[in-house]
């Protein structure tokens, strides 16, 4: 049955080939089902091989299947071969098992994506590469798988490559991983130059043979440190972890499969595979592994506390848990490391897929501040997510408790400081995961809330209309002033008219006095006098009217002034309110009330209005079935290696063949074990209670916990960017300058002597020929000088 091992990587490779050829023709969903069946076939083959391996004797469980002679180059001969032993098959089981479930999940998740078949193409290639990585019987095969998974990861992160963030994240992953690769390659070469082979079947006996040999310890230390560089790159440890949080830009199933369950564990696998070499290295080398792991675990856990993106929390959580695995490997606790790797694969894949389901159901929303109360809307997702939470938080009897407790036990056995860091990390883990569960699934549904940006936009609308009111008032005032002026003019006119009529009356009287009563004109004049007498009161009447109009106009000016003042003050009041509005990026937590919209409701922007139409919903069965399956594994996964009696140490017995007695020996009394377990449980429960206190009941302002350094990951990324963009960039600039200016310039100095000759050789466009020529001369002079110095030495 062991001979079937070749089928394990071959099945997804064939799937890759078929999708490559026919992917477009198959389209959605057939390409997905094809990819799924390839992964499932691989899983079935793994199970068969596993059963075959179980049937073998303990010592016989080391089987090398040589496929073909690959690089038969003289003394450096490499076969393409597979190494089947408990370690590699354990890895294969969970890679193909989790991988199959994630394929199924992806069929639902990637629904409607224009590059549906391409996604499964990469996914199958990834699974094949990952299987080659763990099954390879020599370091070169492992390295090729190592590079293969890296390339797939890079492709899949940039999958939606129209988005520049994704593209830059992919680039980051690529470059950081190259640093790790360089460690791997140098380690491989070093192994080759010392052992004369890079086959594990040769390296392991060599290392076992030289156990305790001080002559070899130096080399082994170098190898281990180089492997640590490699593993830190792939498994996202300090200081090379920066790519993993950014990698969350890719599709969620990718995060689950590659960036949580499988690829990122390959560093731990590599170190475990090389455990005999670790055993002969100097103690400080393996201690370095443990400390890198412990510090990464603590560091990432603090960052996870303050993240608001649902996937970023899980990403930092993954970095932190991987740190746990490194810690375990560094103290020789290989079995707990593999144990936790398996349980972590279960519950972290579950959590990622759960978050993907949330994101899917929430219309691609990833900000937990806008979630809340989803438990009612997405029952399956929330129940399975809660199981994953209990598992990672270390609550018995869920899987994570058992494996994490093992690591803490071994840490206690090795170094109390490491144990303390591990315990604090566990506490933080329980805290930030509880925070995530509460923010996402409990509390008020904040999905429909207006965001700070939306409120600001609405407020701005309002401010604009308020300023419109002010303008209107100003216009009215101006009109009132104009009418006052007009009325005043009228009064003047009317006053003049009164005088005119009085003059007329006088004139008429005087004229009448001059003529005798019997004159012809007397009757005429009398008539005029009568008229003038009538005209005077009329003019006075008109004047009084005009005066009253003026008074009215003045009154309207007053009222217009009042209106303007009111408009201005209300605008000012509104503008002053702006500072009280929620600003973007403030902490909105479960307990804070919905921002009061008041009369802003009518002015909300389109994004808000549209969102009111959308209803978060549960995901389709293709997505929920994997969730349920993984949550089952997250509940019972602990049964792999229960601590109660020796008979229950299944995993420990199983992995014995691969560890060559390098597993650390426990020297801890049973009562201490129980005590440590109780401490761990109490810590986990306390952290959970604390998180409930803060986020569910709102007794503490979350801002006192979510400090800015946490939220910004201790500024590591920014510092890197500064170095790369500042001094690093300057370095490049300087080098460029050096080549073109300093070398050229130095040459120029020499050149001035021969400028008259050289000027005829001027270039047309760039650089000067004479400079290049003199560059050659200077170089030659350097070479000749070196040779002459050899002469003087002899």
């Amino acid at each position: 049955m062991l001979e079937l091992a070749w089928l394990i990587p071959a099945a997804p490779l064939v799937g890759f080939g078929l999708i490559l050829l026919f992917g477009r023709a198959l389209g959605e969903p057939l390409a997905g089902w094809l990819g799924l069946s390839a992964a499932a076939t691989s899983f079935a083959a793994t199970v068969v091989v596993f059963l075959g391996l179980v049937a073998e004797e303990h010592s016989e469980r080391f089987f090398v299947q040589t496929l073909f002679e690959w690089v038969p180059a003289g003394n450096f001969s490499v076969n393409a071969g597979l190494l089947v032993d408990p370690l590699s098959i354990t890895m294969c089981l969970f890679i193909t098992g989790v991988g199959t479930l994630i394929h199924l999940y992806s069929i639902g998740y990637m629904h409607g994506d224009p590059n549906f078949s391409k996604f499964f193409l990469y996914l199958n290639l990834f699974v094949a590469s990952m299987l080659l990585l763990v099954l390879g019987d020599n370091m070169l095969m492992t390295f090729l798988g190592w590079e293969g998974v890296g390339a797939c990861s890079y492709f899949l992160i940039s999958f939606w490559f129209t988005d520049p963030a994704n593209a830059s994240a992919g680039k980051k992953a690529f470059v950081t991983n190259r640093i790790g690769d360089f460690g791997f390659m140098l380690a491989m070469f070093l192994v080759f130059s010392k052992v004369g082979s890079i086959q594990y079947a040769d390296i392991i006996p060599w290392a076992v043979e030289h156990l305790g040999d001080p002559a070899i310890a130096g080399t082994a230390t170098a190898i281990v440190l180089l492997l640590l560089v490699a593993a830190a790159g792939k498994s996202a440890q300090l200081p090379l972890y920066v790519w993993l949080p950014d990698a969350m830009a890719g599709p969620t199933p990718v995060s689950a499969l590659i960036h949580a369950a499988t690829m990122v564990t390959s560093g731990v696998y590599l170190l475990t595979r090389m455990n005999p070499v670790l055993a002969i290295a100097d103690g400080w080398a393996v201690d370095t592994i443990a400390w890198v792991g412990a510090l990464t675990a603590l560091f990432a856990a603090t960052v996870a506390v303050a993240q608001n993106d649902i996937k970023k929390v899980l990403a930092y959580s993954t970095v932190s848990q991987l740190g746990y695995l490194f810690l375990a490997v560094g103290i020789g606790a290989y079995v707990p490391a593999i144990f936790h790797m398996i349980t972590h694969a279960f519950f972290k894949a579950l959590l990622f897929l759960g978050s993907g389901s949330v994101i899917h159901g929430m219309n691609d929303e990833q900000d937990m501040r806008k979630m809340g109360g989803l438990a009612k809307l997405m029952p399956i997702t929330s129940i399975t997510f809660i199981i994953g939470w209990l598992a990672i938080a270390g609550v018995p009897p869920f899987a994570g408790f058992w494996s994490k407790d093992e690591i803490l036990l071994y840490a206690w056995n090795d170094n109390k400081a490491l144990w303390a860091i591990g315990l604090v990390t566990a506490l933080l883990t329980a805290f930030y995961m509880t925070r995530q569960v509460i923010l996402t699934f409990f509390g008020r549904t904040r999905f429909y809330d207006a965001t700070a940006e939306e409120i600001n936009a609405a407020f701005d609308n309002r401010l604009v209309s308020a300023s419109g009111v002010t303008t209107e008032a100003e216009e009215a005032l101006a009109a009132a002033h104009a009418s006052v002026e007009k009325a005043a003019g009228d009064v003047e006119k009317k006053t003049a008219a009164v005088e005119v009529s009085a003059t007329k009356l006088n004139d008429a009287k005087e004229a009448l006095a001059l003529v005798s009563a019997d004159d012809d004109s007397h009757a005429k004049l009398t008539k005029a006098l009568e008229k003038a007498e009538k005209g005077v009161p009329k003019a006075s009447e008109n004047l009084a009217k005009a005066q009253s109009t003026v008074a009215e106009a003045n009154a309207s000016v007053d009222s217009a002034e009042e209106a303007l003042a009111a408009a201005k003050s209300s605008y000012r009041a509104l503008a002053a309110k702006r500072s009280t509005l929620p600003m973007p990026d403030t902490h909105v937590t479960a307990v804070s009330a919905a921002p009061k919209l008041g009369d802003l409701a009518g002015e909300m922007p389109a994004s808000y209005v549209e969102r009111q139409e959308y209803h978060p919903h549960e995901s389709p069965w293709t997505m929920t079935v994997p969730l349920v399956a993984l949550s089952g594994a997250a509940i019972v996964g602990g049964a792999l290696n229960l601590p109660f009696t020796k008979d229950l140490h299944f995993l420990q017995h199983w992995l014995e063949t691969s560890l060559f007695g390098n597993e650390a020996k426990l020297a801890v009394a049973t009562s201490t074990k129980w005590g440590l377990a109780v401490v761990a449980i109490v810590c986990a429960l306390a952290a959970i209670a604390g998180a409930f206190h803060v986020y569910m009941r709102g007794k503490v302002d979350p801002r006192t916990i979510e400090k800015t350094p946490f939220a910004r990951a201790w500024y590591v990324d920014e510092t890197y960017a500064k170095i790369a963009g500042g001094p690093g960039h300057k370095g490049f600039d300087f080098a460029a300058l050096f080549d073109r200016s300093v070398i050229d310039g130095a040459v120029n100095g020499v050149a001035s002597a021969v400028r008259s000759i050289g000027s005829s050789l001027r270039s047309l466009q760039t650089g000067y020929v004479r400079n290049s020529a003199l560059g050659i001369v200077v170089g030659s002079a350097a070479v000749v000088l070196w040779f002459l110095s050899r002469l003087w030495q002899s």
Partner: protein
């Protein structure tokens, strides 16, 4: 009377056939096209040149058989060697000529340039390269070097309507002449020191005095200065730092298919001559020259990898990249000069594999550059590659493979090439070189990634029609050029998956150059 005083060596014509295909092929081509002007306009010269390359490749088979049966031979009174090394290098140069001929065909038509001269010069230049690879005498090496170089000077300047091209040719010529002078002077000094220009005799002279525990030769300063000047001459041809200053300018200005030829055939010939001379005669004094080669390697890798990043012109970028590749090959050469036989075999093997892999990769890369350059041969900025994946997905996909190969990503021949030289360095316990090479590989990877990213992630600035208005014509995927690119990618992937294909040939060739 003369027959008695000057003994003419016997000429084994059958062993000279590949050389004749190129040297006489060139003469026949120029005669034919002069007699029948109609032949000038069609694709005849290109097909003819490609046929010559294939012919040379085919005649290598019987010669290889004979070498296997009778062992390596030295012919023409000690002038040329016929051994695995010469055959291997001849094969690589033939491939380069084949690629160049196919690329030139459409290029000339597109640029509205005429004439079989291009092909004649390519053939002549290649014949010089063949001589360098086989030369057993420093004078013959120099002869080959000059035949190779002078033809390429002209080729670089032959795009008569582009002043950049003429500038490039001019610069290349001036600097090349300078380095040739160094080279010739070096030969004279070596002759003065050892009394011979034959590689075998120089080696014996050095080994003999070495055995007696005396100073290397009668006058060491002459020998050392001579070696130094030879290093300068070769260093220029292979564009290794600090003799690299000409490379970016010349690569930028010269016609793109010719740059491909320079980066492949000329560089291969330079390395072949380098290996032949230094491994053939100077191994006994390896302690003197190997550190210089190591330093040149280090400098080339660092300058090539780091400065390439600042470039925005693809051809300049490839120039720096070729400097860094030269550095990698020098690491292999450094190991090959070791007195430890295992290390030296590993080293010379890595050099040959690298040369092969690099020739293929760079041929394909400049094939793409030729097409993307469009009419006027001017569209070589990184911006001209923006969004290539959406306009010409096939071309972009092929270029990605070539870029990854140059970066040394697994499953490409470029990976095994870098793997080989680093392996040789580690075996020779030159950890500094190995580590520097790895770091440079990491840095260099970024450069190739930059090109890839610009092709895939940047939206094209305008549609095909807009581009047409801007820079003279859309990108035409001409069959002849596509054959080159696809063949290059195919070989890159094939040897990436099966690096030991033809491994026996490679090993024999590698050991035959070591004395």
């Amino acid at each position: 009377m003369f027959a008695q005083t000057i003994a003419t060596p016997e000429i084994p014509w059958s062993l000279l056939r590949p050389l004749l295909f190129f040297a006489e092929g060139a003469v026949i081509l120029v005669t034919l096209t002069a007699l029948f002007p109609r032949l000038r306009t069609k694709s005849f010269p290109a097909l003819y040149t490609a046929a010559m390359a294939v012919g040379a490749l085919v005649t290598l088979v019987p010669i290889w058989r004979r070498v296997q049966d009778d062992g390596p031979q030295i012919i023409l009174d000690g002038a040329l060697a016929v051994d695995g090394f010469a055959i291997f290098v001849t094969a690589i140069i033939s491939v380069a000529v084949f690629f160049t001929a196919l690329l030139l065909d459409d290029y000339l038509r597109r640029e509205n340039l005429d004439g079989p001269e291009w092909y004649v010069l390519v053939l002549l230049s290649a014949s010089g390269g063949l001589m360098m690879a086989a030369a057993e005498d420093l004078i013959v090496t120099f002869l080959g070097l000059e035949i190779l170089s002078i033809a390429v000077y002209v080729l670089a300047a032959l795009h008569l309507r582009r002043s950049e091209s003429q500038e490039a040719g001019f610069k290349y010529f001036i600097l090349g002449a300078l380095s040739s002078a160094f080279f010739l002077y070096g030969i004279a000094m070596i002759y003065g020191a050892t009394g011979s220009t034959r590689l075998g005799e120089i080696e014996q002279a050095l080994a003999l005095v070495n055995e007696r525990g005396l100073s290397p030769v009668e006058d060491s300063s002459l020998l050392l200065a001579g070696m130094a000047l030879l290093l300068v001459g070769f260093g220029f041809k292979i564009s290794a730092a600090p003799f690299h200053l000409w490379t970016p300018d010349v690569y930028e200005g010269a016609p793109t298919p010719i740059v491909g030829f320079m980066a492949s055939a000329v560089k291969v010939a330079g390395f072949a001559g380098f290996a032949r001379v230094f491994l053939g005669s100077f191994v006994p004094v390896g302690g003197d020259w190997r550190p210089v080669v190591g330093a040149m390697a280090l400098l080339s890798i660092v300058i090539g990898s780091f400065l390439a990043i600042k470039q925005t012109n693809i051809k300049r970028m490839m120039a720096y990249s070729s400097i860094s590749h030269a550095g990698f090959i020098l690491i292999g050469l450094h190991a090959a000069g070791s007195t430890d036989q295992g290390v030296s075999a590993l080293g010379s093997r890595s050099v040959l594999f690298y040369l092969f892999a690099y020739t293929v990769m760079v041929g394909g890369t400049f094939g793409v550059a030729t097409l993307v350059g469009r009419q006027g041969d001017g569209a070589h900025s990184l911006d001209d590659y923006a969004g290539l994946s959406s306009r010409r997905p096939l071309l972009a996909g092929l270029l990605v493979v070539l870029m990854f190969a140059q970066a040394g990503i697994p499953f490409t021949s470029g990976f095994w090439a870098k793997f080989g030289v680093i392996e040789a360095a580690v075996r020779g316990e030159n950890y500094v070189l190995a580590a520097a090479a790895m770091i440079a590989a990491v840095v260099g990877a970024y450069l190739y990634l930059k090109v890839t990213v610009s092709m895939f992630l940047t939206a094209p600035e305008s549609d095909d029609e807009g581009v047409m208005v801007e820079s003279g014509g859309a990108i035409a995927q001409v069959p002849a050029a596509m054959i080159v690119i696809v063949a290059a990618v195919g070989a890159t992937v094939l040897w990436g998956v099966l690096p030991d294909l033809g491994g026996d040939f490679l090993r024999t060739a590698a050991t035959s150059v070591l004395r």
